[in-house]
Amino acid sequence: MAVVADYYVNPQNYPRYPKSNRVYEKLRDAGYGIIKMPHPAMVGKGIEGWIVSTVDQIQEYANRGFRVFVLGVEGLPGKGIWMNLITKEVKKRGIPQPDAMVLKKTQLEEPEAVLESLVK
């Protein structure tokens, strides 16, 4: 299970970032289910609902034996995924933090090597 920033599914909406589909294609072809966070500019006061429900899923999938990881983007607020809020909510529940990776802008067009340890 991959919890990903909106960028990875909708790169066309990020003018300062490469229009790279490589991470999406890698996850898709490897058979990963994707939980995509909304576009950061499209969430306001409702963010708590998104965070709580996302962590509910991280907890549920992990409890059922799934490997769950979180994938953000360097340079976007909250890594494009509200990484700090997810981490805080996970910590509050006393459950294991999921594996997490934040790709740099320079890694987005050729992410295969850096993702190798995560996406199996």
Binding site: R28, Y32, G33, I34, H39, G46
Partner: protein
Amino acid sequence: MIPLPGKKKQDAQKRVVFVAHCLLNQNAKVAEFARYPGVVSPIVDLARQKGYAIEQLPCPEVLAMGITRWWTTKDIYDNPGYRRHCAGLAKWTADVIERYAKNGYDVRLIGLDGSPSSGVRFTGTSEPIWGGRPNATVEQYKIVPGKGVWIDELEKELSRRGLAFQKATGVPMDDPTFSMEKSVREIEQFLEE
């Protein structure tokens, strides 16, 4: 600060489609009903190729009953507690839909036809209504016209805000007679309208 998506785009390019959760994550399906390992790529890739931004709806079934739940019908989910759960999810989901709408986006919906929760044109029912120990067969699951409970509650929340999806349809993956080839043709037409 992230600019609003599509701020500099022409109106014709400002298109977003909200998709049923399981179109990006087949792990959310009831055991044995997933048709793809993860992403339902023929549908998701098509929408991306057509220039739509993709937003993923939450799955109310996973969030209420987890991923090892039994499969069930709209009749069973159609109760005050589950509707209240869906109505709660609808509030923060509708916030995102509203932002897209207020920024001039063409906002569409692709649900999961045949689903008791995410059906748009069709949902699933039973006759007589089931209860007690689960022992029904797939053949007893009846696909009938109507919306799933989740889509119903989401549209109610949007309606309260004076909003609606500009167009809505569903991929009938919960219908035993489902054909992906036929669905891709239908969704292609839907996205081009």
